[in-house]
């Protein structure tokens, strides 16, 4: 059975390289550098038995799972420190292509089954000239990510405490008539929350109660389920009555205190922190810079600044890990955040931030474009640090 499958694999392979439309240079160099004897097998019985020496440069390995459980295959240096390539999930009965750029040296493959048992291939040699385009990194472990989550949650706990004290102050202000004071305190508390963007999944129902938008609610801003910061914003900037504002503020303060109490018992998934390094700012792009989350306060730039701080908070929790695993990635992420920070800060005026729509076209393009560029620099972080959780997807 397996033999037949391998033969078919070979035929497919031959067809693939002969197929028109494939770039001739890429295909021929792959063939020349790594004559492929057919798919390599992975299963509980062995990790790529028969893997041969390779030429330096780009190689394509076809890997077939001939066993019964999913496998993850990595190409590692001989000390098993650095990862050069990763096939996250090869399901039983499937064949996948692993493309890797290897420098000269000694390497090996590791095959990790679903149950955590790890097998290693025979070591193999890569010979030939030094090549460009090699990327190696130390893979993160669940323990690494667990540490990052712990660090991150410590700063969130502190942030929540500040938030609760600021929503208390907001509520206190609504006892008086000073709308300017209420608006000021609203903004302070709102920005506290916007810095915590990294855990919105963890917050469960509280996230929507505290910071939900009217979109998706059948009655929009009039919907009874529309509560929290944006509800108060809407009332404050659309002549809401004192009573309405007081009621909405009281509800917000209650929910914030509810969250403070609930947070220690809420779980943060291990991959969340790396994911949020770009997702907080993806939201800024989608909701804030487009004005969608502006219910009247025109505080988009202050929100963007808070989201940058929130992103830095996630990056800080990952710093020890990235410093060890991929310092270049950390440096480029920090550099791009600094650039974005500088653009936002340059827009600050003595009275605070101007409204987004008051920016000149040049300012707007610089802001949108720099944020876009930052997102491109951040996007490798989750991919690189992610740990595949096949067993527990909670």
């Amino acid at each position: 059975m397996i033999v037949i499958i391998c033969l078919i694999g070979l035929a497919v392979l031959a067809g693939l390289y002969a197929a028109p439309g494939r770039s001739p240079t890429a295909a021929s160099s792959a063939v020349a550098r790594s004559p492929d004897p057919g798919p390599l097998a992975v299963s509980s019985r062995g990790c790529l038995p028969g893997i041969t020496d390779l030429r330096s440069g780009r190689s394509t390995l076809r890997i077939r799972n001939t066993g019964n459980s999913p496998e993850e295959v990595q190409i590692l240096d001989d000390t098993h420190t650095y990862d050069y390539a990763d096939l996250e999930l090869v399901a039983p009965g499937t064949t996948r292509e692993l493309i890797v750029v290897l420098p000269p040296g000694r390497f090996g493959a590791s095959c990790e089954a679903d149950d955590g048992t790890i097998g290693y291939s025979d070591p193999f040699q890569v010979t030939g000239p030094a090549v460009g385009g090699v990327h190696r990194w130390i893979p993160a472990t669940l323990t690494d990510l667990g540490n990052a989550v712990t660090n991150y949650r410590t700063s969130v706990t502190a942030g929540l405490k500040q938030l609760a004290s600021d929503t208390d102050a907001l509520q206190a202000a609504t006892d008086g008539q000073d709308r300017a004071m209420i608006k000021k305190r609203w903004l302070t508390a709102y920005l506290d929350y916007e810095q915590l963007g990294g855990v919105y999944d963890t917050f469960g129902d509280y996230a929507d109660k505290i910071n939900g938008l009217p979109s998706g609610l059948p009655r929009g801003v009039q919907d009874p389920a529309f509560t929290g910061f944006h509800k108060i914003e809407y009332l404050l900037w659309h002549n809401g009555s004192d009573d309405q504002i007081r009621a909405a503020t009281r509800l917000l303060d209650r929910d914030v205190h509810g969250l403070v109490k609930a947070f220690p018992h809420q779980e943060t998934a291990p991959n969340d922190v790396p994911l949020r390094t770009h997702e907080i700012l993806e939201n800024t792009m989608q909701l804030t810079l487009t004005g969608q989350d502006d219910l009247g306060s025109h505080s988009g730039l202050a929100t963007t600044a808070a989201n940058i701080d929130g992103t830095r908070m996630t990056l800080k929790a990952l710093t020890p890990l990235l410093q060890q695993n991929d310092p270049a990635l950390l440096a480029s992420a920090e550099h791009s955040l600094d650039q974005l920070d500088a653009v936002v800060t340059s827009l600050h005026r003595r009275g605070g931030y101007p409204a987004l729509r008051a920016l000149s076209r040049t300012q707007q393009e610089r802001l949108d474009g720099t944020l876009s560029g930052t997102l491109e620099s951040l996007d490798p972080i989750p991919t690189e640090l992610e740990v595949l959780l096949t067993q527990d997807n909670s």
């Binding site: 990862d83 493309i99 040049t362 949108d368 474009g369 720099t370 876009s372």
Partner: protein, 407 residues
């Protein structure tokens, strides 16, 4: 004569594009005449030879191509600061153009990164499918990069003409990039690729996508007013003509982009005769009103008073066909666009008009000036666009766009 007549026979490239029966053949533009030749289908792009898609050579010859079936015209503003960053940006643009031209095997190459390619064309994409055309606007030569002294002679911001209704949101820009291909997915793939790699260094300013139609039933493709559009143009194969009308000394050219709304509802309420008198050609087969056949030249000398083709007909004002106006001729490349509806529920359709010339004032502006207040202006409304200097082509694989400007 440097006229480029269409071949009237069924074997014309447009006839080929219409019918699937001749699939497998690709068209070629040769010696001022278009004809079908047997060739590899993968080389076919809206009927132009693969060679015309190459970014290499003294000129960006992509601009000579007949309008492709699909296009995206996008203008960018540079947000990078300083000369060095600007050079880096042009290096990235050049790199992507080379990759798009060569094609690539794009299976996930680095598993610690999101996929390098957007996958819109599948796991790999062939080369020679997309034309990319790069131009720079006058604003690139302001104070930011110290390039004021390097501004190409004759490059300036697009001026406002009396019948214009320009929306600043869709005018001008530091760069213009046009993608052309036989299918919209190839255009989208290239657009996504280039914007991804240049994010943070330049920001899209405006964009209009366009399409051209198959011949109905033959000859030049029809615009949204129902008329054949693109019939009469200077030759794109006669080097003398190109040197006289299109290329600048350094191998560049000037691009004029005009986004011209067609008031199609209004137009459709106009009698056929009035429509034809406004254009100067028949709607059914594209013949000039004074002759039979799309490719027959009108003879204005025979009709000085404009009794047959009115003196204010579009084609007569645009190209009076006199020795004096010969030097004002432009190479027109127009696509149709469709942006849905306007605020009143009217169809927001129009012409993505582009034209190429050696000298904007001597050519485009002279033609546009003759067209001021022509009867057609009631039915069209220029709403955006810009003037750009088309850079020379890439000399080789190590060359980058704008090298001469930035060195």
């Amino acid at each position: 004569m440097d006229e480029t007549p269409l071949t009237p026979q069924g074997s014309s490239r447009r006839g080929f594009l219409l019918g699937g029966a001749t699939a497998g053949a690709a068209a070629v533009i040769a010696a001022g005449r278009r004809m079908a030749v047997a060739d590899d289908t993968s080389q076919e792009m809206g009927g132009v030879l693969a060679a015309e898609l190459s970014p290499y050579g003294p000129n960006q010859r992509v601009l000579l191509n007949e309008p492709s079936r699909a296009t995206a015209m996008i203008s960018f503003d540079v947000i990078a600061t300083g000369r060095k960053q600007l050079s880096d940006l042009f290096a990235v643009i050049s790199d992507r153009v080379k990759v798009l031209a060569a094609g690539e095997s794009v299976a996930v190459s680095d598993p610690s990164r999101p996929p390098a390619d957007n996958g819109v064309l599948g796991p790999s994409f062939a080369g020679n499918q997309v034309g990319v055309l790069i131009g720079v606007g006058a604003s690139l030569f302001d104070h930011r990069f110290g390039l004021a002294a390097r501004k190409p002679v004759g490059l300036k911001p697009m001026r406002t003409f009396p019948n214009d209704n320009l929306d600043p949101a869709i005018c001008h820009g530091d760069l213009s990039v046009q993608f052309t291909a036989a299918t919209p997915d190839v255009v989208t793939h290239a657009l996504r690729d280039l914007t991804k790699h240049t994010r943070g260094a330049m920001q899209p300013r405006w964009r209009v996508d366009g399409f051209t139609s198959p011949p109905r039933p033959d000859g030049a493709p029809r615009n949204l007013l129902g008329f054949k559009d693109g019939t009469s143009n200077p030759s794109t194969t006669d080097t003398g003509t190109l040197d006289r009308l299109i290329w600048t000394k350094d191998g560049g050219s000037f691009q004029v982009v005009r986004i011209i709304r067609n008031l199609v509802e209004f137009w459709d309420r106009v009698s056929l005769q009035e429509q034809e008198l406004m254009i100067g050609r028949r709607r059914d087969d594209g013949s000039p009103l004074d002759a039979d056949g799309e490719l027959t030249a009108p003879d204005y000398a025979r009709d000085p008073q404009g009794l047959i083709i009115p003196t204010d007909a579009h084609i007569r004002l645009a190209n009076p066909r006199t020795p004096r106006t010969e030097a004002t001729r432009i190479l027109r490349r127009s696509w149709n666009y469709d942006l849905g509806l306007d605020s009143n529920g009217q169809l927001n359709q129009g012409t993505l008009f582009t034209c190429y010339q050696q000298d904007i004032e001597r050519q485009f502006e002279a033609v546009q000036t003759r067209l001021i207040d022509e009867p057609l202006t009631d039915y069209i409304s220029p709403v955006g666009g810009g003037y750009f200097s088309v850079l020379p082509g890439l000399a080789d694989r190590n060359d980058t766009y704008a090298k001469a400007l930035l060195s």
